[in-house]
């Protein structure tokens, strides 16, 4: 239902030019549009009722992000899904923030990755030094999606002590305007926003902790599983759009007097693209259906999907441009923007090789 509404919103009120306008604005998106989406309940679709939402299952997330992908929506759904999912593991007052997120008033970002960590989720060098009534955070967070516009940051840090290890990773909620938080926002190649964030002696109270001490990594895995499903579904939406544009182009563009869609070499490649799209759709269904299964099953299906999207998504993105020829290379025509999003999703939450390695470690399919 909400996904249908999202679909209509995208089709009717979010043409590609509007999208580019939003992306080019100072914030990198439109506050008005975000408020409207909140009003329609689209943000709430990402969260469970217990957190003030109206959805939150794997299928809710997948369907919503398919539409987001179809519209190349730049409003910060992903960052708020990540941040909100983390806060749902927190205290009652932290959960209240999720409600404000759902209402569109408050913006979150998930500040977990660090400069040399690549895709390793356990790589946390940011430290949290215990004080009498809280912690002092120090460290650097990299490529924080929508980090420049967030009101609050969910920050992972290692609580200092004797030989701190993965089991000391803990999450903290940090107001983005807090003293010592230095943000440098920038655009991404595909039209979104991210930020480098330096934390220098950032003082937070004890109740800034999300969940329990040392629970950080397990929350991160939950957050990232949802985020990965979301961006894969987003890729599927973008793939649908890219294939639709390409099909239309093949039917209308003529060369030597016939539509180029009559050329069998293109037909056969198109057939493979469409087949792979169905495979990705199946992967999204599998991952969505296992989002609340055991961690092992969930991660197998999530990694299988991400690998598939990385492999076949790239093929579809590249082929969509290639079949368009020169026009596909231009900013003015939409297909290139879809292609950029599809390919850059490979750089979120681990690329093809990262997930293939993870599949190997997890062993055979559940």
């Amino acid at each position: 239902m909400l996904a249908d509404m999202a679909g209509r919103f995208v089709r009717e009120q979010y043409p590609i030019d509007t999208r580019h306008e939003h992306a080019a604005a100072e914030l990198g998106f439109s506050r008005e549009s975000w408020a409207e989406m909140a009003e329609l309940g689209l943000i709430g679709a990402l969260f469970r009722e217990e957190n003030g939402g109206f959805g939150g299952t794997g299928f809710d997330i997948a369907l919503m992000f398919e539409e987001i992908g179809r519209g190349l929506v730049v409003e910060p759904f992903l960052a708020n899904l990540l941040g909100g999912t983390a806060l749902a593991h927190g205290s009652d007052s932290q959960k209240e923030i999720v409600e404000a997120v759902i209402g569109g008033e408050t913006l979150l970002a998930f500040a977990h990755g660090e400069p040399t960590g690549r895709y390793d989720l356990a790589h946390v060098h940011t430290t949290a030094k215990p004080t009498a009534d809280g912690y002092v955070l120090n460290g650097n967070k990299s490529v924080v999606i929508s980090g420049d516009s967030a009101d609050f940051l969910v920050v992972s840090a290692l609580i200092e002590g004797d030989q701190p290890n993965e089991e000391d990773v803990t999450l903290f909620l940090v107001p983005a305007d807090q003293d010592g938080v230095h943000r440098r926002g920038y655009p991404t190649i595909d039209g979104y926003r991210a930020a480098e964030i330096a934390l220098k002696d950032v003082v937070v109270p004890a109740d800034a902790m999300i969940g329990a001490k040392g629970q950080g990594l397990s929350i991160v895995h939950d957050v990232v599983a949802r985020g990965t499903l979301a961006v894969c579904a987003e890729a599927l939406g973008a793939i649908d759009a890219a294939i639709d544009l390409t099909l239309e182009y093949l039917k209308t563009r003529k060369q030597f007097g016939v539509p180029i869609g009559k050329f069998q070499a293109l037909q056969h490649r198109m057939a493979d693209m469409m087949t792979e799209r169905e495979q990705i759709r199946s992967g999204v269904i599998n991952a969505a259906g296992h989002l609340d299964a055991t961690a092992g099953e969930r991660d197998w299906h999530i990694s299988a999907l991400k690998n598939l999207v990385g492999r076949s998504g790239r093929m579809i993105a590249e082929e969509s441009i290639q079949m368009h020829g020169g026009i596909g290379m231009t900013w003015e025509y939409a297909v290139g923007h879809y292609a950029k999003r599809i390919v850059m999703i490979d750089h979120l939450f681990g690329d093809v090789d990262y997930h293939l390695e993870r599949i190997i470690k997890l062993g055979k399919a559940a």
Partner: protein
């Protein structure tokens, strides 16, 4: 978007699983697992076992003695049977001729032939392809000329699988040379014992005898053997091709093949460790697993749509292409897993009764041959090129 099985479906799955455990002879399962050759007797035996539980004709309508399985039940059965290394049913009578007879045959034909398919009295083969015709059925040349109460058949069929075992063959023949080429085709049933029918083996590239040429010289067939109307055979042929789509993805076979490959790769050593732990090998295996997990769902989605009454679309062709590519990649990786022992090939060792020591590991001998043999899967039943034509044309509307 719920793809979980219902309680009834899960119960059926358990029932089939229990049946396979109890009734599938280990001797047959071992042959299938180890890619040994099945004899005609093996096939007939397995049909009889399946028939004793009604499973052989489970997908037939109740009116014809079936259990009226829907597409999901049929998928469950196929997956369970294949995963247990049960031999695949011989499809020619069961899944190809039977639906045509049910839809277009006379009551007499239905009453006579259908029970004989179920109880194994008849072993059917298929007379569709002709030399030089390939995927282009409309150009077929074999003729049937009316002569009193008989048709007189002359011509040649080819790629007739298991023709060496069959006692019956259904043929597409030309009964009219005027008009559009597809308008003069008829569908006719032939007893292979009729004088003038000659079966000549075609040996495949790796040495197997699976397919045949069947030659017809002045073969007299009673007119009652015509199915439906004269010159309407093209319609029946298309019906057959579209109707026989269950199991086209080969999910069960892929799962069984992948699990066998895992066993082999666990046994094979590379630098003192199981090959399965080699990163490159593991990567290739895992990519196949990922694709197969997705294809299993793609297959269920399409099967579900079929169950819901949607007309068959280009999705079936997608399953054919992806399914063959996947199974061929399993064959390929299994070949690679063997290292140098992929090379030895003792043909006799594939037959029952061979008792000499194997060359190398006992699973090695048939593997490379299988890899070559299964190149056929992307060629027959409408080549992958034809399938890609269908996909793009139906979906692009060009």
């Amino acid at each position: 978007m719920d793809l979980n099985y219902t309680a009834e479906e899960l119960a059926f799955q358990q029932e089939v699983r229990a049946f396979m455990e109890e009734k599938l002879p280990k001797r047959l399962a071992d042959k299938v697992k180890h890619h040994k050759r099945l004899t005609k007797e093996d096939m007939v035996e397995w049909h009889a076992i399946l028939n004793s539980a009604g499973y052989l004709t489970g997908h037939w309508p109740k009116a014809f003695g079936g259990l009226e399985w829907n597409a999901i039940e049929r998928t469950i059965f196929d997956e369970e049977m294949t995963a247990a290394n049960g031999p695949r049913q011989v499809p020619f009578g069961l899944n190809m001729l039977a639906p045509v007879l049910m839809a277009f045959g006379s009551p007499e034909q239905q009453q006579y032939y259908l029970p004989r398919i179920a109880d194994g009295q008849d072993f059917w083969c298929q007379g569709y392809s002709e030399p030089g015709a390939g995927s282009d059925l409309a150009s077929l040349k074999m003729t049937a000329q009316r002569d009193g109460d008989h048709y007189v058949l002359n011509g040649q069929k080819t790629w007739t699988t298991l023709g060496q075992y069959a006692n019956k063959i259904f043929c597409l023949v030309r009964t009219n040379k005027e008009g559009k080429p597809q308008e003069g085709i008829s569908f006719i049933l032939v007893d292979m014992d009729t004088p003038g029918v000659e079966v000549r083996p075609i040996i495949l590239l790796e040495g197997t005898h699976e397919v045949n040429e069947v030659w017809f010289t002045d073969v007299r067939v009673p007119v009652e053997n015509l199915v439906g109307e004269e010159n309407k055979g093209w319609t029946y042929a298309k019906y057959l091709l579209v109707h026989e789509r269950s199991g086209i993805a080969g999910v069960g076979a892929a799962m069984a093949g992948l699990s066998y490959l895992r066993e082999i790769a666990q046994d094979q050593q590379k630098d003192g460790k199981p090959l399965l732990e080699d990163p490159f090998f593991a990567a290739r295996l895992s990519e196949i697993e990922i694709d197969l997990a997705a294809m299993r769902t793609t297959n269920l989605r399409i099967t579900q749509a079929d169950n819901d009454g949607a007309p068959p679309g280009p999705e079936t062709s997608m399953l054919k292409v992806k399914g063959t590519v996947l199974r061929q990649s399993i064959n390929d990786l299994t070949r690679r897993a063997l290292g140098p022992y992929a090379m030895p090939f003792v043909s006799e060792a594939l037959d029952a009764g061979y008792n000499e020591e194997p060359i190398g590991p006992d699973y090695a001998n048939p593997i490379a041959g299988d890899y070559f043999n299964h190149r056929k899967t992307s060629i027959y039943g409408g080549s992958n090129e034809v399938q890609r034509n269908i996909i793009s044309k139906m979906m692009m509307g060009l």
